[in-house]
Structure formats: structure tokens, C-alpha cells
Amino acid sequence: MWRAIHRLGSPAIFYAVAGRLQPWCWALAIALLLAGSLWGLVWAPADYQQGDSVRILYVHVPTALLAQSVFVLLAAAGGVFLVWRIKLADMLAAAIAPFGALMTLLALVSGALWGLPTWGTWWVWDARLTSMLIQLFLYLGVIALRGAYTAAESGARASALLALVGVVNVPIIKFSVDWWQTLHQAATFSLVRPPSMPASMWLPLLVMVAGFYAFFVALALTRTRSEILRRESRTRWVRERVARTTGKAAR
């Protein structure tokens, strides 16, 4: 088990394995997102109170979930990089941070668009919305810190450290609607009780969530691979690989 993880931690081996997985992930992501969009936006029923604006849910919930999952992964990668000095963890972190920031922004924008017709306002400073905005700033900080040092290694460490500290915000976002009085409603889904939503609504939502996760995995594989090529461009295995694909001898 540990040997397999160690082997996968080598950029060359990860590059090859990810290259084989990549097309399947992209195909799965496109299929799930297409099916989920059609199901959620066309065939799923409207809500008894909100009407058709409830369909924003099929974009809002996956983006908000991804925004937080990506941050947890970012912090885990940061921890692995700081403690075990595994370069691949830092390459992964560099590859996924912009995607997480984009998901956070999309969750905020789709939430604002949903809030306007249902709540009567696009923004309030309640605990859920504010903690999500802080998450966006944390993402931007993690991305900016990486480029703020002349030495790439120092930037990587500072950014990993901020990701680790910032992960404290994730449980705050999750439980903000339970700990404080907020305009945002409490969670519909929980592990201990059935969802307060019929299957005709949560099934398409499940497909959309799975599609967003598949999209994330596919994008993370592709972006990490190009990050590997960029950073390892001087190593022998990359030169040999390039030589094999272009048909020229490695210099």
C-alpha cells in the first residue's frame, strides 16, 4: 500500500498513470454534466414555493460543494508538501487552486442570482455568505502567495501554510447555518435523516454533483500533468519522452 503511494508520488509515474486515466475522466464528466443539466433544468419539477428559480440549485450546490472539497484537498496537499517534502503534492496544489477559486466565485454569483428572486436581496452579511466570501479571499491569497517570492520553493511553502491555516474556515462555512441565525436556510441533506427533497429533485442534483467532481478530477489530472512537464522539463525522463513523441533524438 505505502509502496504504491510512494511510487505514485514520483512525477514520472504519476504523469504516465494520469495520462491513461485522463480521457476516461473527461468522458465521464461531459456525459454526467450533459445528462444532469438536461435533467435538472428541463425535466425536474419546479418547487411549490420558488417555482423555476429552484433550478439554480443544480449549479449552486455542486459549485459550493466543490469550493470546499478543493480547499480541503489544497490544505492536505500543503501539509504533505510541508511535512514530507513531496514535490508532486505542491504541483497538485498549484494546479487546483484556481479551479477552487472559480468554484467559490460561481457559488457566490449563483447564490446571489438565486437570492434576488427568493429572499428579495442578492446579498446580506449573514454568517454563511460572509464565510464563503472569506473563502474566496483565502483562495486568492493562496494563489497570490505562490508568486510573491523570487524563489519558487519559498512561495510554495508560504502558500501551503496559508492553505493549512485557511482550512479552519471550511467547518465554519458548513456549520454557520446551525450555529447562528442566518438568512441562508439549513442543509437539506444529512447523513442521519432522509433528504427534505423528493427523489425527482435530488437524483438530478446527485448527477450534477458527480459530474462536477468528475470534471474536477479530469481538470486536476490534466493541469497537474502540464505542471509536471513545466517543472521537470530539464530532467532526463521528460527529454526522452519528448524525443519519443516528436521522433527526434534527445540532446
Binding site: 419539477p45 419546479a46 418547487d47 411549490y48 414555493q49 420558488q50 429552484v54 440549485l57 501539509g79 510541508l82 511535512v83 514530507w84 428572486p117 427568493t118 429572499w119 428579495g120 436581496t121 446580506v124 452579511w125 449573514d126 454568517a127 501554510l161 493549512l164 491555516v165 482550512v167 479552519v168 474556515n169 465554519i172 450555529w179 447562528w180 441565525q181 442566518t182 438568512l183 436556510q185 439549513a186 442543509a187 437539506t188 427534505s196 427533497m197 423528493p198 425527482s200 429533485m201
Partner: protein, 145 residues
């Protein structure tokens, strides 16, 4: 016991996480009443809310309490948390989701007569979603809306 550099770094990262979490936790605990978006009618009745200052009050619109001005936008209704209720006066357009039994957050000032002058009304909705046909069927059988 001597630690290897790696386990030293691991301990440092874990200790940092615990410290950061407790710092944030204590801050939030100290600020807990300020993070709440609104007061409840019960808190208002207990005199916990400041008067002559813009505040927010949240609760449910009491069933049968909504009175609309026949010609105009003025409306009065009671907001309740089932412990106490507060009479709210408002002039303006109400959000689509506003109805009796619905959660609302009203923004405004406490009036001298024990009522509340709202400048804005926001609707809350709960975490329950269902198609209109299901809601209609439930209403017929007398179940929850």
C-alpha cells in the same frame, strides 16, 4: 526521545492547525451574538435589542395576521418565534415568497408603541423542496405544507 526532522515538521504543522483553530474558535465564541443576522421577537420582548437603531428581526409571519391597506402598498403583519410576537408595519413591495407561515427577516427600527417600522422585508425559505403537485396533495390530506 529525539524526533526526526520529518516528524518535527509534522508536529509543527499539527500544532499550528490546533492553534489556528482555537484562535478562530475563541474569536467566534466571543463575537457569537454579533454574528447572528437578526433578533428574534422573544429577544425583543426581553428588551435585548437596542431602540432607535436599525436592527433586523427574524421569525415566521403569524397566520391570519396580515392586513393590507385596500388601496396602497402599506401592510401590517406579526412576526413570531412562537414565544413572543412583534407587530410590523411596512410600506413597499413584498418578496414573492412572502406569505403567512413563511420565515421573514425585517430590517428597520423599533417604534415607540412597541411595534416595528420595517424599511425592508426579506423572505427566508426552509430546506424543504417539493413539486407543486406534491404540496397540493399534502395540503388536501392536511399534512405539513
Amino acid at each position: 526521545m529525539r524526533m526526526t526532522p520529518r516528524s518535527q515538521r509534522l508536529a509543527l504543522v499539527l500544532a499550528g492547525l490546533v492553534l489556528a483553530a482555537s484562535a478562530v474558535g475563541l474569536t467566534l465564541y466571543a463575537l457569537r451574538s454579533n454574528i447572528d443576522l437578526f433578533f428574534t421577537p422573544g429577544q425583543i420582548a426581553a428588551g435585548e435589542a437596542p431602540s432607535q437603531r436599525r436592527i433586523r428581526v427574524g421569525g415566521l409571519v403569524e397566520a391570519g395576521s396580515v392586513v393590507r391597506e385596500p388601496q396602497g402598498l402599506a401592510v401590517a403583519f406579526s412576526v413570531t418565534d412562537r414565544a413572543a410576537s412583534l407587530r410590523v408595519h411596512y410600506r413597499g413591495i413584498l418578496p414573492d415568497l412572502f406569505r403567512e407561515g413563511q420565515g421573514v427577516v425585517v430590517i428597520g427600527e423599533l417604534a415607540g408603541d412597541g411595534g416595528f417600522d420595517a424599511a425592508r422585508v426579506l423572505a427566508r425559505h426552509d430546506e424543504t423542496y417539493m413539486p407543486p403537485e406534491v404540496a397540493a396533495a399534502l395540503a388536501e390530506t392536511g399534512g405539513p405544507p
